[in-house]
């Protein structure tokens, strides 16, 4: 086990939103630890809360309760109230390349912003640093003068990644970075991200709904449903021995291309039922209304998180 301090520690994090329809419990008691240099994958469907956790770590939301620790610092507050050095260490890449870059600024101005804010390099050097960043993501120098509207979706996302790297962060949150992109450009970007991780010792909090992608990117995977983690395990273990019925349901629904992959999917559970709205979370285990293995106890008591050997956590009455 690593005796370095974990880079991220989430402790019973809760984030509730007040809406006209009621209280939305987007994140309802999530705890996990992230080690330095690993890629922790968060997987889930609509309403699972995976993006909310990412935004809470990034500082877009302040937690309703619970704590977020970055190394030894308590960062359970919005980004505007965090210190500059913390802001430098945690960066984010958003899902939609269309709106994550200001359409009215040039690429150079966009990449210059983090350098200026954190005073990286002397003002004279910053221009060269911008070119270096462009080169790092394999974009030509003359892109510096273009507006985001002139770039394709994949190229914009590369600029977003370059911007995230500009402050030399330690933790990068990637919220579905390639979901809006085509498969071939996705391969290029993922390869790039993995290379950077190796070279710079980065830690990634990686969110996606694409399980095949997760399989090739993450070191550990956590699956979420309606604001709670159902299962958390090392990647290989997660895919080869999924324990939670929701994990099995999700894995059995993935569209795959080859018979080989088809045979890897769990067979016994097929997807059924609708995803309930996070405003009306059923009592007991939030999954019981769709679970084919549901028992009486599941409708009443929310199961606790159990740790099994091999760092495999599961929250299900079948195992408690």
């Amino acid at each position: 086990m690593n005796d370095k301090m974990p880079i991220l520690k989430i402790s019973n994090l809760k984030k509730y939103f007040r809406t006209n329809a009621g209280i939305v419990k987007a994140v309802d008691g999530v705890s996990f630890i992230m080690e330095q240099g690993e890629t922790l994958g968060l997987v889930g469907e609509s309403g699972s809360g995976k993006s909310t956790i990412a935004y809470a770590v990034a500082g877009i939301y302040a937690p309703t309760s619970g704590q977020i620790f970055f190394q030894s610092f308590d960062i359970s507050r919005p980004a505007t109230k965090r210190s500059l050095s913390i802001k430098r260490s945690i960066q984010i890449v958003f899902q939609d390349p269309g709106t994550s870059l200001n359409p009215r600024r040039t690429i150079e101005q966009i990449l210059m912003l983090p350098l200026n804010v954190h005073r990286i390099g002397s003002p004279k050097e910053r221009r060269d640093l911008v070119y270096e960043l462009l080169q790092k993501v394999q974009l030509p120098r003359d892109y510096a003068n273009k507006a985001p509207g002139m770039l394709g979706g994949g190229e914009r996302q590369m600029v977003a990644i370059a911007r995230a790297l500009a402050t030399q962060p330690q933790l990068i949150i990637l919220d579905e970075p390639t979901s809006a992109l085509d498969v071939i450009i996705q391969a290029k970007i993922i390869k790039m991200l993995l290379t950077f991780q190796r070279e710079l010792g980065l830690s990634y909090l990686f969110i996606t709904h694409d399980l095949s992608l997760m399989r090739n990117v993450a070191t550990r995977v956590a699956i979420m449903y309606l604001g709670k983690i159902c299962e958390l395990a090392p990647a290989l273990e997660f895919f080869q021995r999924p324990l939670h019925p929701y994990t099995q349901m999700l894995l059995s629904s993935i569209p795959v291309v080859s018979k080989e992959e088809e045979s890897l999917k769990p067979k016994k559970i097929q997807s059924r039922g609708e995803i309930p709205s996070p405003v009306n979370v059923p009592p007991g285990c939030s999954f019981h209304s769709r679970c084919p293995e549901a028992k009486e106890i599941c409708k009443q008591i929310d199961p606790p998180m159990i740790e099994l050997p091999g760092g495999h956590f599961v929250r299900c009455h079948l195992f408690s």
Partner: protein, 298 residues
């Protein structure tokens, strides 16, 4: 999506100004916009060069020629003469100077105030600052320009400067509302949140990230507003609260001429037409600009 590709071609500049040829192409697709632009050109040039192109420049000030009063339109006086014998066409040209000056001054005062207040309110959405800003905006919105101008006139003397002041006071809240709408909408976009996460200061975000999003809407509204500011100014002078005689002011001219309707019709009709023309010109150009700035496929 192929749609995105096509939009990529259209959006290949930050601001439409940077790609004048394409902007002109878009603008010129609508013949009415060209008409408006032409009209505007003529009006502005006439106003600028009035002292040199007006047929009787001395009629613009104190001038009386009782022999020539109440002349109908003729070859020597294209728009006729008024009760003092002054050439109406000349006075219209000089009147345009007053009107355009009023429009420019009013907007130069009200736009910066309104934009700043709206921007701060939109960015600080959900806080006390927003409430204060927008409630002050609401208060000023509820005051009709005419009433305020009369109040100002009763305190100070009625003249052109005070009427411009009064109109500016009632004009800025519209900009506050407009900018507030745009900013509070874009405030939660990913690129703004990125800037916050990077650690940019609030001032930077408002000036560099948010303000550029408002420029196109602002520009269009300012252009359309010029016409309405001029109309409001003319309304004030119609009731005697604007420029005082003998300064040639379009509204005052209409007012004076109305006493002599319908026999000496030219004294009201031509100044009124002049007002209509200038408002029409600004409206047509403003519409064209709005089409230009819409990021649609060409």
């Amino acid at each position: 999506m192929l749609n995105q590709k096509i939009k990529m071609y259209s959006n290949s500049s930050r601001f439409p100004f940077e790609n004048l040829k394409r902007s002109w192409y878009k603008f010129s697709r609508n013949p009415l916009s060209i008409l408006g632009l032409g009209l505007l050109f003529i009006i502005i040039l006439s106003a600028l060069f009035a002292p040199w192109i007006a047929p009787y420049p001395q009629h613009a000030g104190k001038f009386i020629d009782l022999k020539e009063r109440f002349q109908p339109p003729s070859t020597s006086h294209l728009c006729g003469t008024d009760s003092m014998g002054r050439d109406i066409l000349t006075r219209i040209l000089f009147g345009y100077r007053i009107s355009l000056l009023l429009g420019v001054v009013v907007l130069s005062i009200s736009v910066p105030i309104g934009v700043t207040i709206g921007m701060v309110a939109g960015y600080c959405k959900g806080t006390v600052i927003e409430t204060i800003c927008m409630r002050i905006t609401d208060i000023f919105l509820s005051v009709p320009p005419l009433i305020l101008a009369m109040a100002v006139a009763s305190v100070l003397r009625p003249n052109l400067q005070n009427s411009m002041l009064a109109i500016s006071l009632t004009w800025w809240p519209w900009y506050s509302r407009l900018i507030y709408g745009v900013v509070s909408g874009t405030r939660n976009e990913f690129f703004v949140q990125s800037a916050e996460i990077i650690g940019a200061s609030k001032v930077h975000i408002m000036v560099r990230e948010l303000f550029p999003q408002t420029i196109s809407t602002l520009f269009t509204k300012v252009t359309l507003d010029m016409g309405y500011a001029i109309l409001t100014g003319a309304s004030l002078s119609f009731v005697g609260l604007g420029a005082q005689p003998p300064t040639p002011d379009l509204g005052t001219m209409v007012s004076e001429g109305s006493k002599f309707l319908p026999e000496q019709w030219w004294m009201s009709v031509f100044p009124a037409l002049a007002i209509v023309l200038v408002i029409l010109a600004f409206n047509l150009v403003g519409d064209g600009l709005r089409d230009l700035f819409s990021l649609e496929r060409v």
